[in-house]
């Protein structure tokens, strides 16, 4: 009987191990461990076993049952694992495929530059102001110390409107609004769209973007202006720049300057970008003319300031190497999708 038990156990274990399907394992379980199975049959014959052997046989019987049960559980688990592995494998995905749905959109390069520069100025304590695109002649010219029939008006070809107003030729009129509304001392910028009555070609536009900046405080000097411009330009170009001021005439500042930066392409040794001069004209600036302060309701005896204008369109073209200004307002997706 011992022999019979050992043999049964060995056969069952071998059968479980070699079973190819869960059904085969189940058949073995029923055949060996079932209520009418072989182990049950053996245990029913325990009565015929001499009492002195019963203990040993009983023990062997239990051992056989436990080991077969464990083998079956193990095998079933293995089948489960395999099944899961097969399912997961069948769920393979090509993640190099593009996602369904729309492509990401884009912000216009002018938006990008404006936001970047606005953030820079806000970090320097400047307020961002807006002004209207349709301006009065007074704000655009007179309040900026450019009286009627002043030849400086020729410097800015103007679009005039039927109601006697005009399309602002620069963002400088927002200076006037800033002086009237902000408390002193003041620091402000005004980015925006401006208009000049000019023929359009690859480098000229009748509609472009500028940024006007102004700081008014108790004591503002040329030395402060130069320092500030260097700081600002280092922020914009993300590197130190060498600047040079030379005389420039703008009626709303005195003294007035053209600020040049040392050419970032050649470093000042001369190249086609800087027309071999080593310098690139970047922005007009100056100390605010006392007349402008006065017209803005500020006492020039008590306060002084500097102002500057930054060509955002030009900056965008420099930043991205755009060689045709017409692209910016052309609405062509093949251009827009590059940003």
């Amino acid at each position: 009987m011992t022999e019979q038990l050992r043999e049964l156990e060995a056969r069952a274990l071998a059968g479980v191990a070699s079973a190819a399907t869960p059904e085969e394992v189940e058949a073995i379980r029923v055949d060996v461990l079932g209520r009418k199975g072989r182990l049950a049959a053996i245990s029913r014959e325990m009565g015929k076993v001499p009492p002195e052997e019963r203990g040993l046989i009983g023990k062997l019987l239990n051992q056989a049952k436990t080991s077969i049960e464990a083998a079956i559980a193990g095998r079933e688990d293995a089948f489960e694992q395999e099944k899961l592995a097969r399912r997961l494998d069948a769920e393979w995905l090509d993640l190099t495929l593009p996602p369904p749905g729309v492509r990401p959109g884009s912000l216009h390069p002018l938006t990008r530059i404006q936001r970047e520069i606005e953030d820079l100025f806000v970090s320097l304590g400047f307020t961002v102001l807006d002004g209207p695109e349709v301006e009065s002649e007074y704000n655009n010219f007179d309040a900026l110390n450019i009286p009627p029939d002043h030849p400086a008006r020729d410097m800015q070809d103007t679009f005039w409107l039927e109601n006697g107003m005009l399309l602002r030729t620069h963002t400088s009129p927002v200076q006037v609004r800033g002086m009237q509304t902000l408390p002193l001392p003041l620091r402000m910028i005004a980015p925006g769209r401006v208009f000049r009555n000019e023929e359009v070609d690859a480098s000229h536009e009748h509609t472009f973007y500028q940024l006007e900046g102004m700081m008014v405080d108790r004591e503002v000097s040329v030395a402060h202006l130069i320092y500030f411009m260097k700081t600002l330009l280092a922020g914009i170009f993300k590197r130190d720049v060498t600047v040079r001021l030379r005389p420039g005439y703008f009626p709303f500042v005195e003294p007035g300057f053209e600020l040049d930066i040392q050419c970032l392409i050649c470093g000042g040794s001369g190249c086609p970008v800087c027309k071999q001069s080593g310098w690139v004209e970047l922005l007009p600036c100056g100390l605010v003319h006392p007349n402008v302060l006065r017209l803005g309701g500020i006492d020039p005896g008590e306060w002084s300031g500097f102002a500057f204008g930054l060509g955002l369109t030009r900056l965008v073209m420099m930043r991205y190497g755009i060689d045709d200004i017409r692209q910016l307002q052309g609405g062509d997706l093949r251009f827009l999708r590059q940003f």
Partner: protein
């Protein structure tokens, strides 16, 4: 404005400063130099040569043997005036003549060693008719012609400097910068005394502060000597005849425009300076006849206008070969008046450009003195007749400014020694004296006093630019630390841009102009728009009152090479009225070649993202809108924009859905009003409901009915689907919703739910809807 380097060197008494260095010096300290170009480099090679003999050749060419001073040469010449005995200009082989390279060449079997040149070929006149004839010994350089450089200065940077519109003014700057001894070309001692032979009557001194004139007789009119032609030509001025050339030369030298009249053609002995009569005409030197009005000032004789003051002379009284007696005008005119006339007549001349800048009245007589000396050179035998005619209002008092040195230092942010300040100002011919501790008394010279320098701040610029701004040490400003005022509107627009771009839209910037064709397409008239009085082109004559025409153009253009895309713009509509209103709008469009439904709902999703809880309600379609696919967008009870499909008439292939929002209204409603409600603690129950309705009944209406009859426990209505077709009758649809019911204090019981449901169904049936199981 072009400057001759040679001339500046002569006037500034400067040597040892090359042209490029002079250009840089002017750029950094005075005005922007746009370039320095060599002029007449060939004059280093070209020599005088005498024609020894001439032999005819085939055609109109001739073979000439010439004495070059260093041996004889043979040249082939086609000029009709090439004849034995004349001295002309020989261009030796190997010389560059502009873009031409002159070499030894075979011409019709004759070896031509270089060429004899005309004035035009040498670049010193416009004479193509024959070779130049000069007085010089063979081998000598061409008299009055030597290599020069032309320094081009940006006119804009001279806007405020009337004095820099002549070489002498620029030479004053150069002398001050380079330490030269400025030369004075005019000798006012030459002005004759005695009674003038012409009278001058100025009607309004405000328009003409001064009019000076001299009469000359025994005048010979002819070509100017080569040196004079060469100088004018090098500056881009057209040589005409000796008399006119002198007036232009003085203008180029002293910035004083002049005009010469043929005295025989002037009626009466008086020159009137007066406003034009209405409709008065003047036939000008350029061949045009101008019709004038009283806003234009004229120079008139007894019979009418003979010149448009400060702009252009008249043809009738111009200098001709027959002229023997001239009246030479040197006047000063009101800058704004000249500018107005010049822009009204669309006629900008060398004279008007200068007068616009507010010329110095003190300069008129000085220019006449200079002209006397020059006319004697170019018109031998010329004689002054009578004394100076000079009508002027009293000269303006000199401008005297007090310059506190400590204040100057604070403005510059740099200390400049008092002696240095004084030296700088004196080099620029300001008169400087010291008054008290640290204050200078500065008298402004007349040529800087017309407009340029009026306040002490103007002197900051004089000192600053002369010491050079690069000598000022950058200093950090000391400013109050305060958070800047936040621009909410701008921040909002940027946030919208970011959100819309994140949904796959590409941002465009369109122009603010709209064409009549575009507005017509959108059902608008020109009268609705603010008109530009001087548009740059047809089609840009009005300001946009909608972003849609621009966006429509983008759609049509891009549809040519893209199958589907999304675009948006944030920009201002400009509305006319007593007050112009600029309204920020956001217009977004989806273009696709499909049935168009999905695009509209994508845009609705965009609207819901920007404005949670916003609604779309039916409305009357406009001309450009698909009549059955349009809705008003409402948020918190206000109309904020429109959602529609563009009328298929406007889009050839494919469909374009548009969302147009008034960002000003959206921003005003943006204030956060939501309040937290405690999260419910008891479970909710759901049941589905299908409502049969007419095909065009609105889902929003049905939802409103459900809400009306759903009782206070109705928490949420979720739309599931719409169904049409059998077994539903034609013209009907079924809308299915899942309703969520919950109470805040307990779990709803079965009977409670049944009650709610019964009440709801009853209400809907009463409202005329059928319900589907």
């Amino acid at each position: 404005m072009k400057f001759s380097y040679n001339w500046l060197c002569e006037l500034a008494g400067v040597r040892a400063l090359d042209a490029a260095a002079m250009g840089r010096l002017i750029t950094v300290h005075t005005a922007e130099c746009e370039g320095v170009e060599p002029w007449g480099a060939h004059f280093a090679e070209v020599r005088a040569a005498r024609v020894v003999s001439v032999e005819p050749m085939a055609g109109h060419h001739r073979k000439a043997v010439i004495d070059t001073g260093s041996g004889t040469r043979t040249v082939v010449c086609g000029a009709p005036n090439c004849r034995e005995g004349i001295v002309s200009a020989w261009v030796p082989p190997g010389t560059a003549l502009g873009s031409r390279h002159i070499e030894t060449a075979d011409v019709g079997g004759v070896t031509s060693e270089g060429m004899l040149a005309s004035g035009a070929e040498l670049g010193i006149s416009r004479d193509h008719a024959g070779i130049v004839e000069i007085e010089a010994a063979p081998g000598e350089p061409i008299p009055g012609c030597r290599p020069d450089s032309i320094i081009e200065i940006d006119n804009k940077s001279l806007t405020h400097r009337p004095d820099l519109w002549g070489h002498h003014g620029m030479a004053r700057e150069v002398a001050a910068l380079a330490g030269g001894q400025l030369q004075e070309p005019a000798d006012t001692g030459r002005i004759p005394s005695g009674a003038p032979l012409v009278r001058v009557r100025i009607e309004d001194y405000a328009l003409c502060p001064r009019y000076s004139a001299l009469v000359f007789e025994n005048v010979t009119v002819g070509p100017s000597p080569l040196w004079l032609q060469a100088r004018l030509e090098s500056l881009g001025l057209n040589p005409i005849n000796n008399i006119v050339d002198v007036t232009n030369y003085v203008m180029a030298e002293l910035a004083q425009p002049m005009h010469a009249f043929d005295a025989a053609k002037l009626a009466g002995g008086t020159i009137f300076v007066r406003p034009a009569r209405d409709g008065e005409t003047c036939a000008a030197l350029n061949g045009e006849t101008y019709t004038l009005n009283p806003s234009n000032l004229v120079i008139a004789d007894g019979s009418g206008a003979v010149a448009i003051a400060g702009v252009i002379g008249g043809m009738e009284s111009s200098i001709t070969g027959a002229t023997t007696r001239i009246v030479l005008e040197s006047a000063n005119f009101h800058a704004a008046g000249i500018r107005k006339t010049s822009s009204r007549l669309k006629l900008r001349t060398d004279a008007s450009m200068r007068f616009e800048k507010s010329q110095d009245p003190a300069n008129t007589v000085r220019a006449l003195a200079r002209a006397i000396a020059l006319l004697e050179q170019v018109s031998p035998g010329i004689r002054l007749a009578g004394g100076l005619a000079d009508d002027a209002r009293p000269a303006a008092e000199p401008i005297v400014l007090e310059l506190p040195l400590e204040w100057l230092g604070r403005k510059l942010g740099a200390t400049v020694e008092p002696e240095r300040v004084r030296a700088i100002l004196e080099a620029l011919r300001f008169e400087v004296s010291s008054i008290g501790e640290g204050v200078l008394r500065v008298t402004v010279p007349s040529w800087r006093a017309t407009k340029d320098i009026t306040i002490k701040d103007d002197l900051v610029e004089e000192v600053g630019r002369m010491i050079g701004y690069s000598s000022i040490t950058p200093t950090p400003p000391r400013v109050a630390t305060a958070p800047p005022r936040v621009n909410e509107r701008r921040g909002f627009h940027h946030a919208v841009r970011q959100a819309v771009a994140a949904q796959g839209f590409n941002e465009v910037y369109n122009y603010s102009f709209v064409s009549e064709q575009e507005m017509a397409r959108f059902g608008r008239n020109p009268g609705d728009h603010l008109a530009v009085t001087n548009p740059i082109a047809a089609g840009q004559g009005h300001l946009r009152i909608s972003l849609l025409p621009g966006l429509h153009r983008n759609i049509v253009e891009n549809a040519k090479h893209a199958v589907s895309f999304r675009l948006f713009e944030i920009g201002y509509e400009i509305h006319k009225g007593a007050e112009v209103r600029e309204t920020p709008h956001m217009a977004a469009a989806i273009y696709a070649k499909d049935s168009g439904e999905q695009s509209l709902f994508e845009l609705k999703r965009l609207a819901l993202g920007l404005m949670p809880g916003s609604e779309t309600s039916p409305c009357e379609a406009r001309a450009h809108e698909h009549p059955a696919r349009v809705a008003e967008v409402r948020w918190k009870g206000s109309v904020v924009g429109r959602l529609f499909e563009l009328h298929p008439r406007l889009v050839e292939a494919g469909r374009a859905a548009v969302l147009d929002l008034d960002l000003a209204v959206v921003e005003s409603l943006r204030e956060e009003t939501r309040k937290y409600k405690p999260v419910r603690r008891f479970p909710a129950s759901e049941f589905d409901l299908s409502v049969v309705a007419d095909a065009r009944d609105l889902s929003a209406t049905i939802e409103a009915r459900i809400r009306e009859h759903g009782g206070s426990h109705l928490e949420n209505i979720e739309f599931l689907r719409v169904f049409t077709g059998p077994p539903l009758p034609e013209g009907c649809k079924s809308l299915s919703y899942r309703l969520t019911m919950a109470a805040s204090g307990h779990t709803l019981s079965g009977p409670e739910l049944t009650g709610i449901r019964e009440k709801l169904l009853e209400g809907l049936r009463a409202a005329g809807y059928e319900l589907r199981a």
